[in-house]
Every structure is written in structure tokens, then in C-alpha cells.
């Protein structure tokens, strides 16, 4: 299954090592069934899968948030792990800067918080209440809260799922840039195949609680959906996810297909 296991084994210390991970919420069957996964330091991994494939269960297991869930296996993660949730999860009763620095115990916490806010394009908004920010800004503040802790592993659970399409594109650019600067290992759970291809070094498809497909993205430079390699990869991943991608596979959209797309 994990076709890159050999390649990864040449690197001495993976940032994340998951071996034979089992998790189940009821007697009927497991959500994760002996999952193996290694993530190298600084590697950006996108995790795709249908609903119920165990994406979030894996992420929560790595985040240490699955107390009380039945299961066994072995998980090794770095000391500094940050989580970005789908909702920005800013405390509504704390101003933005206090949200970013919550739990930081260094004396220069406020300064580092402001720096992190500037990095995500929220300079000068330190004193704002969370409800005064737009959805995209809230999510950027939550990114700042994660990055100010210098994580070695960043876990993101559909962080852009609730944003509109245009904001999402801007967030993709921002996240790529931040990851180039801070170099954390990233595990991004997403439903969006395009998002996975645009952002990740490696895309993993989860199915039935194990890794079903593990593909390295070798697209150079700017990743464009107009690139035929992009389209091929996209079609391949959609097939792995069990979706027939007949919209974009067609060479020239006819009138009938256009109206069908509009209706869907």
C-alpha cells in the first residue's frame, strides 16, 4: 500500500510514525484498521478520503484528542504539535492577540504574537474581537495561533472547508508560503482534490481505515489546473476516491454538459 515506505526509510528519522493503528467507535467495525504512515520532517501530506474513511479519526489520534476511543497501535509524533480546526475556534471573549498567545509562557509572547499576526496579514488587528473579523481573517488568526508555537507538526482538519472559493485560493497561497518559512511537517485533511494537489508534496487516499493510495506530487513550480499533468493526477485521485470525473475529462464541453454542470 504505502509505496513510498522504501523511499522514506532512507531518511533516518520521520517526524511522524504510525504503525498498525486501529481505532473503532463501536463493536461493528473499525474506523482505522491497521494503518501505517510515515511523514518526513517538513513534508506536506494531504489526506483524502470519503466521509467515514477515518481521516478525522487519524488526525485526532495524532493530535492526542481521542482519549476513550477503543483501539491500539503505535503513534510517534514530535513534541510540538499544533492543530488547525475547521472552525477558527477563537475564544470570543479574548481579543485576537490574546487568542494567538493563549498558553504561551515566554516573556516575549505578545511580540511574537504580533509578529505571527503580521505574517498572516493581520498586522494592526491585535486588539480586535474575533467577531469583528471575517471568516477568512478568523482562520488566518487561527493559523497565526498555530505557527507562533513553532510546531514541528501541523495538523489541519479541513481548515478551509467553511470559506468561500476566493478566500480559499488566497489561503492556499498563504499556507504554502508559511510552510516554506516555518518548515513544519503538515498533515492536511481535505475533501478537495484540487486543494490537495495544489498544496501537498504527497497525497494519501484513505479507504476502509488503511492507506489505499500514496502518491508524490511532482509538478514543478506553479501548480496550475490548466496543466495536463494536474488534470491526470486529479482524474486518478478521483478514481481512487470512487468518483467518476466526467465533467473535466471531456476535451470540449458541449452545451448539454455545461447545463448539466450548472444544474449540479
Amino acid at each position: 500500500m504505502a509505496s513510498y515506505a522504501r523511499e522514506l526509510s532512507t531518511q533516518p528519522e520521520p517526524a511522524v510514525r504510525v504503525q498498525a493503528l486501529h481505532r473503532s467507535f463501536n463493536e461493528a467495525g473499525g474506523v482505522l484498521n491497521g494503518l501505517d504512515l510515515d511523514i518526513a520532517p517538513g513534508e506536506f501530506v494531504a489526506l483524502l478520503g470519503r466521509s467515514g474513511s477515518g481521516k478525522s479519526t487519524l488526525l485526532r489520534a495524532l493530535a492526542g484528542l481521542d482519549r476513550g476511543v477503543a483501539g491500539h497501535g503505535r503513534i510517534e509524533v514530535p513534541a510540538k504539535v499544533s492543530v488547525v480546526f475547521q472552525d477558527s475556534r477563537l475564544l470570543p471573549w479574548k481579543r485576537v492577540l490574546d487568542n494567538v498567545t493563549l498558553g504561551l509562557r515566554t516573556p516575549d509572547a505578545a511580540q511574537r504574537g504580533s509578529q505571527a499576526l503580521a505574517e498572516v496579514g493581520l498586522a494592526g488587528r491585535e486588539g480586535a474581537w474575533p467577531h469583528e473579523l471575517s471568516g477568512g481573517e478568523q482562520q488566518r488568526a487561527s493559523l497565526a495561533r498555530s505557527l507562533v508555537r513553532d510546531p514541528q507538526l501541523l495538523l489541519a482538519d479541513e481548515p478551509f472547508g467553511a470559506l468561500d472559493a476566493l478566500t480559499r485560493i488566497r489561503m492556499h497561497t498563504l499556507l504554502r508560503r508559511l510552510c516554506e518559512v516555518h518548515q513544519p511537517a503538515v498533515l492536511l485533511v481535505t475533501h478537495d482534490v484540487d486543494e490537495a494537489i495544489v498544496l501537498a508534496d504527497r497525497v494519501i487516499v484513505l479507504d476502509g481505515g488503511v492507506v489505499r493510495h500514496d502518491a508524490r506530487i511532482d509538478l514543478d513550480g506553479r501548480r496550475s489546473q490548466a496543466d495536463p499533468a494536474f488534470a491526470r493526477l486529479r482524474a486518478q485521485l478521483l478514481t481512487e476516491l470512487g468518483v467518476e470525473d466526467d465533467h473535466d475529462a471531456a476535451p470540449r464541453p458541449t452545451v448539454g454538459q455545461l447545463s448539466e454542470r450548472a444544474a449540479s
Binding site: 493530535a63 492526542g64 484528542l65 504539535v81 499544533s82 492543530v83 480546526f85 472552525d87 475556534r89 475564544l91 470570543p92 471573549w93 479574548k94 490574546d98 493563549l102 498558553g103 474581537w129 474575533p130 467577531h131 495561533r145 508555537r149
Partner: protein, 278 residues
């Protein structure tokens, strides 16, 4: 404002044709609308007394009440009574709020605490505090401790109930967030639990203030040798309606002032909330 075809036309002639529907809602709010009813009631009192429709033995004339209040202030009786009653209410309120908050925190933050505390308080809630007065008199006599403790007993229940509810309705996702940020338990209580329970606590405070005044009136009317309630009881014995009315007005002012104070605190403390009112 102006039409596109004739921008130079004077405003008065600007065409305004629109379909309108019959209004079903209550319409625009009236400025100072809250005071109108009160002013009307006072006016009815003045007119009733002036025309002799209201017997002074039933309800004293408003001007007599004002004169009586002046006399009572001059000879110090009203001020003394007000201070005594105020201290009593404040002590009972303070004690009750403290106990209610501490119990709510213990019960809200630990399962053992909840098992021990929540049940008895729910039982206590179903007994009217005023029904406990006979027992409290036997235990504590009729002095100040009995009065303060009666008020505290009436106060701590709403504070406990609303603060506990506020604590329990803090969303679990915030606790989860705090776990991923690696905060300590103390930091969690300070930054997440206490501010999160603040709206509930302040709602409890508003009920508590009303309860404290109710209990104050009862303990002062039943057996007291000082305070507004004592003043009213004495006046009742001598048929002095004017003094009774002055006492009632003072109680009303106390209640309105205390409620306004809590609302001001609420607005300051909860400025992070975006509600429909703002």
C-alpha cells in the same frame, strides 16, 4: 432621492410611487416609551388626590408623601433606615454571591463536586427560602446574623444555578482547543472557564439582586428594630400611610438602582458579545 431622468428637479417634486403593505408589526419604538406608563400612573395619583376621589387614608396625597420624605430625611430616620437596610442587603448579597459562585465552580469543574453539591442545591431550590425563617430564628435568634443569612440563602441559589449552567454550556470544542495548546488547568480556568461562565453568572446576579430585596423586605417586616421595613411596620401600626408609601418608594428605588448597576457591569464585562441588542 432624485430620479435619473431629471436630476435638476427640486426634491419636493421628486416622484415617490411605491406599493405599500399594511403594517402588522408594532412599528417604530417610542422615545422614552418606558417612562410614559409611570408618568401616567403618577398623574392619575395626583388627579385622584386633588379631586378627592382617593381617600388620604387609603393612599396619601403625593405632595404629603414628598413632605413626609423631607421630614424623615431632616430628622435622620430615613437615612438611618436606608443605611441599615442597605448594609443588610449588601452583606447578604455578597455572602450569597460568593457561596453560590464557589459552589458552582466546584460543581462545574469536577464530577465529584457535582455529585455532592448539585443534588442538595436542587432540593434547596424547591423550598422557598422564606419558609426556612422559623428554623433560622430558632438557630440564630432574631438578630442581624439571621437576617443576613436569610438573604444569602435566597441569593446563592440563582447565582449557583445560572453560573453552573453557564459553565456547563461552555462548548467542548474550546476545552479541546485548550488541550491542543497545552495550557495548564489554572490557565484553562482563568482564560476559558471563567470568561465563558460570565454571561450565566451575570444573569444569575440580576435574579440575585431581586431575590435579596425580597428577602430583605420579609426579614425586616417580620421582626426588626431598624431599617426601612421596621419604619413601614411602625407606620402601619399608627396608620401613617404617608410613611408607608415613602418606604415603598425607597424599596423601588433600591431595586431599580441595583438592577441598573448589574446591567452596566454586564455591558462592560460582556463587550465581546455581539447580540441583537447592539
Amino acid at each position: 432621492m432624485t430620479t435619473l431622468t431629471a436630476p435638476t428637479r427640486p426634491l419636493a417634486e421628486a416622484e415617490d410611487v411605491r406599493p405599500t403593505r399594511r403594517r402588522l408589526g408594532p412599528g417604530e419604538p417610542i422615545r422614552f416609551g418606558g417612562l410614559i406608563g409611570i408618568v401616567a400612573l403618577l398623574a392619575a395619583w395626583v388627579v385622584g388626590s386633588a379631586t378627592g376621589l382617593l381617600d388620604p387614608r387609603t393612599l396619601t396625597e403625593p405632595w404629603t408623601v414628598v413632605a413626609t420624605a423631607e421630614t424623615l430625611i431632616e430628622n435622620g430616620r430615613l437615612t438611618d433606615s436606608l443605611v441599615t437596610s442597605g448594609i443588610r442587603a449588601a452583606l447578604g448579597l455578597g455572602l450569597g454571591v460568593l457561596v453560590g459562585t464557589v459552589l458552582a465552580l466546584v460543581s462545574g469543574l469536577s464530577r465529584i463536586g457535582e455529585s455532592l453539591i448539585d443534588g442538595p442545591i436542587q432540593v434547596k431550590r424547591s423550598i422557598p427560602t422564606l419558609a426556612l425563617i422559623p428554623l433560622l430564628i430558632l438557630w440564630l435568634g432574631i438578630g442581624e446574623p439571621m437576617k443576613v443569612i436569610t438573604i444569602a440563602l435566597a441569593v446563592f441559589v440563582p447565582v449557583y444555578i445560572h453560573t453552573h449552567n453557564g459553565l456547563r454550556t461552555i462548548e467542548g470544542r474550546y476545552a479541546e482547543l485548550a488541550e491542543t495548546l497545552g495550557v495548564t488547568r489554572t490557565e484553562f480556568v482563568r482564560h476559558v472557564v471563567l470568561p465563558g461562565a460570565m454571561p450565566g453568572f451575570l444573569l444569575g446576579m440580576r435574579f440575585a439582586v431581586t431575590s435579596s430585596l425580597l428577602a430583605l423586605v420579609v426579614v425586616e417586616v417580620i421582626n426588626a428594630t431598624s431599617g426601612i421595613g421596621h419604619m413601614i411596620t411602625l407606620a402601619s401600626n399608627y396608620g401613617q400611610t404617608d410613611i408607608i408609601v415613602v418606604g415603598l418608594v425607597v424599596y423601588a428605588l433600591l431595586g431599580v438602582t441595583a438592577d441598573a448597576a448589574v446591567r452596566i457591569i454586564e455591558r462592560k464585562a460582556l463587550s465581546w458579545r455581539r447580540t441583537l441588542a447592539s
